[in-house]
Amino acid sequence: MLKEFLDPRFFLQELEEVSRKLVKGMEVLLTLPEVDLEPTPKELVFQEDKMRLYRYVQEGPVTCPVPILICYALVNRQYMMDLQSDRSLIRNLVGQGLDIYIIDWGYPDHGDRYLTLEDYIDVYLNDAVDHVRRASGQDRINLLGVCQGGTFSAIYTTLYPEKILNLITMVTPIDFHVTDGLLNVWSQHMDIDRMVDVMGIIPGEFMNVGFLMLKPFQLMVDKYVGLMDNLDDPATVANFVRMEHWIFDSPAQAGEAYRKFLKDLYQQNKLVKGELEIGGRRVDLKRITVPLLNIYATEDHLVPPASSVPLNDLVGSKDKTLYAFPGGHIGIYVSGHSQKELAPKVAEWLQERCAGKAAGKASKKTAEPGRAAKKPSALKHEGAAKRQPAKGGPRKAG
């Protein structure tokens, strides 16, 4: 084999093939139209400071009257879940008849350096939950937290159990002292106080360097070499560009919130120890008694399974499900397997826990104007033109 490799004819053949792809690829890149992101129609329904709450337009029949609020991480942007129409967990969940709201945390700037974890959980997340409760007429709603947003959601559920009907966590770090994850290891020796005091807000670029270092050759070399193989395929290139856009679309982190999250959770693992305090109240995971669906990715390099799995043992819920998704931290949203399996699984789990459990007074308010059930096939139509504007525009918090 090695002999064949050393034969210059083989090398020249490969070189010729690569050159041909590069030339064709240049043509593709030069003519590539602007890629679209977040294709599933949604409307802005609530805003508070930089936090925005969107509701996805549901054109099909609603199969669960209790809406889901998705709480994404502060790191990176929530549209990972709706990156492109054929790889969109959101679109699939909407297609399953779920009423979905999503929080967009925005891009913190220096003016946000004093925002605390309490502001995010007790104010923004709580106000978003209250808005969804008011709008849907449900006393309790479903909360789906992703990654760091999952940690927020778990914390929130311990503090406001009366407002949550079901809790879903996806690739969520809970035990921060597992040594599988490099982020856990590295954070132990970081002087977080110094970082926050000096920088005020932690730049997204700073965070990104850390993420790239988790798989340096794969993420900084092979990813781009791999692109060459498909450089002559406009669809693949467009997908690549979308993903690239998302990866480097990294908001800065509000300093004080970052300080508490890193020190209390990453460094001192207070959530697992039951020592975390939010606004002077102790966070006890045993206070989570609602049904829990804990989804983790078996190949997750950012949040290792060992960090997510312990949640099921720490909560007080009797109805709890642990779901292992065969893939990585990103693949869980964009892989073909995810599209076929994950969304139906989530919808099925929710629907089983939705029927008959919705708050009684809700029935009057669930059917909002413009939200009449339509055939699922209508989902094929998407884009801004199909959006249903919110009545009276978005509600702004005081």
């Binding site: 490969e14 004093y114 925002l115 110094r194 005081g398």
Partner: protein, 378 residues
């Protein structure tokens, strides 16, 4: 018109005899001198009195002095006095050259023998400067009126010695650093992680003892604070770069290990005859995957984690001090700086919280009032 009082006119008559005399002196000088090159080519004292070139030069100069002395002084100051001054100037020039060449020659010889370090350099330099001092005194003192001879003292006395001392003291750490690195290179030492770190540590010591002292020197005047902050920022930048060097050294070492590991894999494949890469693409895959393994292994270590923490900490130190310098340097400009804005942000943040809390209180009170109204209406 002939001027019988002018001795230079007699020169023409004596010219053939003079020619003969000059030729004889020239030949004598050469015959008395040792063969050229035997004691070095330069005219300095180490080769000086014994040096062939130096002997010829001095003998020839003496002859010229004697020659011009044969002529009485002419009107207008020209004649032997003028020649004497010119020849004395040439002599000074040659002596100065000799001091330098001696200094460099000895330094070169000691360095070649591996003996030179900052202490010896200090010794050589002082030896040279002592001679130089005497020479300058001799040259200037002889040329200046008595009332101005203090100038020669200034240029060669205590002030000069202090300057030399300070200069030697300032540069000696760098001499030690350069010699140490040179010795390591001569021994063919491979710069691994520790080697590179050691080299930077030595560099830092040299910096600390020279430019570091200069930068930390108390500043004065209107820009004192800005200058001091700048100095602090530069110090912090050096500290950051030192850890950055360690960081890159660690990455470089992992790269080297990755390459060794890959070579091992390829050699194993060749010996085992069970394959190996069949295409460049496959070799590339082996390359990046092997490297990834090695790097991840490094990243998992406690040492790397500490190094990363250290790097971030030093980076923050520099960022903070540089920010401080920028704020100080731009305080007169018509825009707010980061600290002022932070103060404002804090106020806005607290006000927002207060407004939010008050709004909630108002809403609760209104709710209460509505409830009370309803009850009153019943």
């Amino acid at each position: 018109m002939e001027n019988p009082g002018n001795p230079w006119l007699d020169l023409m008559g004596k010219w053939p005899a003079l020619q003969r005399d000059m030729f004889k002196q020239w030949m004598d000088a050469w015959s008395k001198a040792e063969p050229l090159g035997k004691a070095g080519g330069g005219p300095g004292p180490s080769s000086g009195a014994e040096s062939a070139a130096w002997t010829i030069y001095r003998q020839w100069m003496e002859y010229l002095k004697e020659l011009v002395g044969r002529f009485p002084a002419a009107e207008g100051g020209s004649g032997p006095e003028t020649f004497s001054r010119m020849l004395s100037g040439a002599d000074t020039y040659a002596r100065l050259y000799a001091w330098w060449t001696d200094f460099f020659r000895e330094a070169q010889e000691r360095m070649g023998a591996g003996e030179l370090d900052s202490r010896l350099f200090d010794e050589l330099y002082h030896k040279w400067s002592q001679g130089y001092e005497e020479m300058v005194k001799g040259i200037f003192a002889a040329a200046m009126p008595e009332s101005l001879q203090w100038v020669a003292e200034l240029l060669s006395g205590d002030v000069y010695r202090l300057y030399i001392d300070e200069a030697v003291h300032f540069w000696s750490p760098w001499i030690d650093f350069a010699i140490s690195q040179g010795k390591k290179a001569a021994r063919g030492e491979q710069p691994g992680i520790e080697g590179i770190s050691e080299a930077y540590e030595e560099w830092r010591r040299a910096y600390e003892e020279s430019f570091g002292r200069l930068i930390r020197m108390p500043a004065m005047g209107y820009y004192r604070e800005a200058a001091e902050k700048f100095g602090k920022a530069m110090d912090d930048l050096v500290e950051f770069n030192l850890v950055l060097a360690d960081f890159y050294a660690a990455l470089g070492e992992a790269g080297r290990q990755g390459m060794e590991k890959l070579q091992g894999k390829l050699a194993g494949a060749l010996q085992g005859g069970d394959g190996g890469p069949s295409s460049f693409r496959e070799l590339y895959r082996m390359w990046w995957q092997t490297n990834e393994e090695v790097y991840i292994e490094l990243f998992r270590t406690e040492e790397f984690s500490r190094l990363l923490g250290h790097l971030v900490e030093r980076g923050m130190n520099f960022r903070e001090s540089y920010q401080g310098f920028l704020e100080e340097a731009t305080k007169e400009l018509p825009f707010p700086n980061r600290s002022e804005m932070d103060h404002l942000y804090k106020t806005v943040y607290e006000l927002r919280k207060e407004v939010r809390s008050l709004k909630r209180e108002v809403a609760a009170l209104e709710e209460e009032r509505r409830g009370a109204k309803k009850e009153g209406g019943r």
